[in-house]
Structure formats: structure tokens, C-alpha cells
């Protein structure tokens, strides 16, 4: 699975993207987040307040309940501020 991080989230994780092997019991975005939080301080900090985390699964907006089966790319980012 390819994971991408943007803006403030990227600054916390310290990486823009990475290839990961997710445990089999991870089936939703919420599961991915829980797993990421075990990977060190940067991740714990990035996902400390889920109210300001948004995600996209295969480049479509999702939420914590979005299933990840068959997905090839998950992105995490703060609420958008373009325009």
C-alpha cells in the first residue's frame, strides 16, 4: 500500500510518501491510522487529533470508516485551504 502525507501531516511524519505492508486485520482507514500511530513519535503526533485529519482512498475523499480493500493509495492531510 502506498501512503501519502501532505502539509502539516507530512511535516509531522517526516515523509511525503512510503510503501507499507499493512497487517491483514487492517481493513479501514481507522485501522491504518491506529497502525501508523505505533510507528513512532512523528506518526503519534501527526494523528494525535483526528478532528483535523482528512483522508483520501485512491484519490477520493474518505473518512475513518472507509474500507481499504483493493485500494492502492491512501493519503492523509489537514482540511484543505486552497482557492
Amino acid at each position: 500500500m502506498k501512503l501519502l502525507y501532505f502539509a502539516r501531516v507530512k511535516e509531522s511524519t517526516g515523509v511525503a510518501e512510503e510503501e507499507v505492508m499493512l497487517p491483514r486485520n487492517v481493513t479501514t482507514v481507522a485501522g491504518v491510522v491506529e497502525w501508523l500511530k505505533t510507528r513512532g513519535e512523528g506518526y503519534t503526533h501527526a494523528f494525535a487529533d483526528l478532528a483535523i485529519i482528512r483522508c483520501a482512498v485512491d484519490q477520493q475523499h474518505g473518512d475513518l470508516d472507509t474500507p481499504i480493500a483493493g485500494a492502492s493509495e491512501i493519503a492523509f492531510f489537514p482540511p484543505v485551504t486552497g482557492g
Binding site: 501532505f6 502539509a7 484519490q59 477520493q60 493519503a75 484543505v80 485551504t81 486552497g82 482557492g83
Partner: protein
């Protein structure tokens, strides 16, 4: 049509490209967003990050939604990325329709939708410090309006 680019855009040229040779357009609205030098502090630089691939898909989706809601004859969304200075253009939306209400509403809708949905993030150098721009609650409220009306 949607474009994500680092270069500036020429509003007059974009309008001409959209309307040239056409005689069926009665109303054309453009919205341009620019970098302001004041935003809760003195802004000296703006940096726009985005999610390549998803950004374009979102803009196309937003544009299609506008065409479903209003009888538009043409539309254009251009959003810049990278480093921008105060006074620089950030975003351009153009809508063309037979009548003005559709053109006005669609342009306003596109901006509201883009602001809350397209994956762009602004960082400002404000009072000498780099800060991520925070979401404004009024932008979320502006977006919700379009969905409660229908």
C-alpha cells in the same frame, strides 16, 4: 476545463479563448483569488502545496457538478501552485451561460466547493514565521448552503 499550474494566468486571454467565435453566451462571470498582504498578520510569501492527480480529479468533479446544476455553456478552473507573492493571482474561475443568474451562482458554487474539497494547502510567511493557513468556518458554512437549498 481545469488546469493546475505554477505559471500566472491571463484573465483576458482565458476569456477570449472561451468566448471566441461564439454568439450564444449572454453572461460571463470570472472570479480571481489573489494573495493579500494582510491575513491576521503581514504576509510576505505564500506557498501552495497540492496532491498531484487527486487535485485535477477533484476539480473535474467539481466542474461537472456545476454543469449538472446550471445550464453552463463553458467553464474554466485554473489553480496555481508553488510560491506566490502578495498581489499574485491564486485561482481563476470562469463561467458562461445564457443568463446571468446561472453564471453568478455557478461561479460562486465552484469557489465554495473548491475551497472545501480540492486538495490544496496554503502556507504563509506571516510576520516572519511560516504558518499553515487555517480553515475558516465561514468557508464550510458557505459550502453547506448549496446542499441545504436543493
Amino acid at each position: 476545463m481545469v488546469r493546475v499550474q505554477t505559471e500566472d494566468f491571463d484573465i483576458g486571454a482565458e476569456i477570449n479563448a472561451l468566448t471566441d467565435g461564439r454568439t450564444d453566451i449572454g453572461a460571463l462571470v470570472t472570479f480571481t483569488g489573489l494573495v493579500r498582504d494582510m491575513n491576521e498578520g503581514r504576509v510576505t510569501l505564500m506557498e501552495l502545496e497540492h496532491y498531484p492527480g487527486m487535485t485535477e480529479k477533484e476539480l473535474v468533479r467539481i466542474e461537472q457538478e456545476a454543469h449538472q446544476r446550471w445550464p453552463l455553456q463553458a467553464s474554466l478552473i485554473i489553480h496555481r501552485i508553488g510560491r506566490l507573492l502578495p498581489g499574485d493571482n491564486i485561482v481563476l474561475v470562469i463561467t458562461a451561460s445564457a443568463h446571468r443568474q446561472a453564471a453568478f451562482e455557478a461561479a460562486s458554487f465552484l469557489m465554495d466547493y473548491l475551497k472545501t474539497s480540492a486538495p490544496f494547502w496554503k502556507k504563509e510567511i506571516r510576520d516572519g514565521k511560516a504558518r499553515w493557513v487555517e480553515v475558516r468556518e465561514r468557508d464550510n458554512a458557505a459550502m453547506k448552503k448549496w446542499f441545504s437549498q436543493s
